[in-house]
């Protein structure tokens, strides 16, 4: 049976590690060098979801948000879910993540969002603290932490969003 296709958008402020997470997940690679994404890069990977079979994730890695570039809302169209990435070492990226979740909810009502707080390998330098994350949980957010550098939590994040979009 052919795998179900699901479009997942990678959203977040610039340099939070969206591309690195996709690269780690799809190719098993990581590069220390920051290379800004301009526009969109689409990758694919099949993941097995328990009781649901294979899911072909079409990963839309969208350019980061900042003063120079705003997200084109039309890129979100047709998305089954969103992986919203924040950088634990930059507290302001969490504010961007919250704003992007609102935009995602507006453009794709009902599509689940998973917050990924990246760079867990730099935990001692985090500006996002447990209290903020607890508050997000209370607000209905589903989140987990990852490190594209050492791969911690990366597979789990994509498997989680795959499960969320096939529920």
């Amino acid at each position: 049976m052919a795998a179900t296709q699901k479009k997942i958008c990678m959203l977040g402020a610039f340099a939070v590690g969206k591309t690195s997470l996709v690269q780690r997940f799809v190719d098993g690679l990581f590069s220390e060098k920051y290379l800004t994404t301009v526009g969109v890069k689409i990758d694919r990977k099949v993941v097995a979801v328990e009781a649901r079979g294979d899911v072909n994730l079409i990963l839309w890695d969208l350019q980061g948000e900042d003063d120079f570039n705003n997200l084109r809302a039309t890129y979100l169209r047709g998305a089954s879910g969103h992986l919203i990435v924040a950088d634990g070492t930059r507290g302001a990226t969490l504010e961007t993540a919250i704003r992007l979740r609102d935009l995602a909810a507006e453009m794709t009502p009902g599509a689940p969002c998973l917050l990924v707080v990246n760079k867990s390998d730099l935990r001692s330098s985090w500006e996002i603290d447990d209290k903020q994350l607890s508050a997000l949980s209370e607000d209905g957010w589903c989140w987990l932490t990852t490190s594209a550098l050492n791969a911690e939590g990366v597979e789990a994040a994509f498997e989680k969003i795959a499960a969320m979009v096939t529920q």
Partner: protein
Amino acid sequence: MRDNVPETVASALARAVIRSRRPAFVTSDSDGNALRWGGSLRAYGIGELSSGLAVADQIPFLTGLLPLADTPAEWFRMQTEGVFADVHLVPHGAEDWIILLDSTREVRGEASVQQLRNELQLARNGGESDASPAPAAASSVAELYSVLGILALARRPDGSFSVVGTPPDWALALFPLADGVANPSEMSPFLENFLIDADPHWHERRPDRLRSGPWREDTPDGDFIDLEATAIALPRGSLLLVERLGARHRDATETLQKAREARLGHYELLRDLEHKEVLLHTIVHDLSGPATAMQGFLQLVEDVELPPQLRKLSTTAMRQSIRQQEMVGEILDVFAAERRDLSDFRFDAGGAPDLVGCVREAVESMVPVFGKRGVGLRCDVLDQAALRVVGEKSRLDRVLFNLIENALRYSPRGSTVSVGVESARDWVTVCVEDQGEGIDPDLAKTIFEKLSQGRGDKKGKAGLGLYFCRITIERWGGELGCEPMSGGGTRFWFRLRPSDP
């Protein structure tokens, strides 16, 4: 035979039509059940039929159409089994006739004509002045697309796309473009998404170009390529151009990369400063502790009777100890202000400080010091109403203290320092005027710079007090300055925006 066409000629024509258009027919009764059939039904994917059974159950594309009842004869075109068919529905007495004619050749011919139209239109759009451009012009435009490395796709009436000219090599390597036909939806999910926006653009024949924004595709050799699609609606055609982004895009990307790296660096710098501030606070705390203790001991010594020489030494030691503490405080102030200066200032209108109140408090707190030095301090705002400005109270107090204390330093005994506030539509201005020697105009230009020392032998402590004033006022969008006054003395001033203009 009508129109005087001989029967043999008519027969030849009929045979030609039958040969080229592969007619087939089915008849049905008034309930839509099959009666008779014949011709090239298999060419249209229609297999064995059963008499007396509903035609629509046996030929799905006729579902809902039979019986024809009193409807006039009509026809429609459909595609089945890889061929296009014109399906004619003709009521005839008690029977309904369904006649199928192969129109594949006609459809392909129309598509070719449309392709030619598109190309001709492109030629016109490309600046050809000839009202009836030669096909060679269209061909040139198609070649131009190839030379420019642009994949040009002309949208057909049926929604499919044909390739205009020769596709560039990069496109052939990336996309299936066999037989000059393209399906953008299958070429890339990005294009599939873009077509949703492009369709209304073409349909409404909007005059502007609709750009997709850039996207990146992996190439078979493991590299990548940046592309952008553009939808263009022409008067008689629709085009989808897919362009490989070149040097300009690379430059823009590089600029963006540098800007973002700079921003990350800036952020790192802020964090670094913050860490240093914590470290500095710790060191200063350690430094000021012994200084405080020393002042306590010197205070005790003051109560002891000492020979004049020792008294003089203990007084000097006390003064130096106090000065040390002041310098430490000043350094900390500036360090903190610099860091905040680099951060975004978020003004809270509800917490806007009252400048008049701040001036009044600052003056009142300094009256005793002025008294000790024999300098008068006049405040012109005692009865003035509140004036709220853009800023923060604690730092505004510090600015006022620095300016008034600076004026005191250059005021001769018996003179007076005046502090006043003036309000205009766009600004609220504070002036601090002393009756000293007056600042040198050259020094006035640099006195607010970091580590700038003041006038003559009455220089400041660390050269940071006025610098602190400048970065603080400017951070709030204000201005400050100083100049010698015509009658002697110096006027220092700063102005801030009213919080509620």
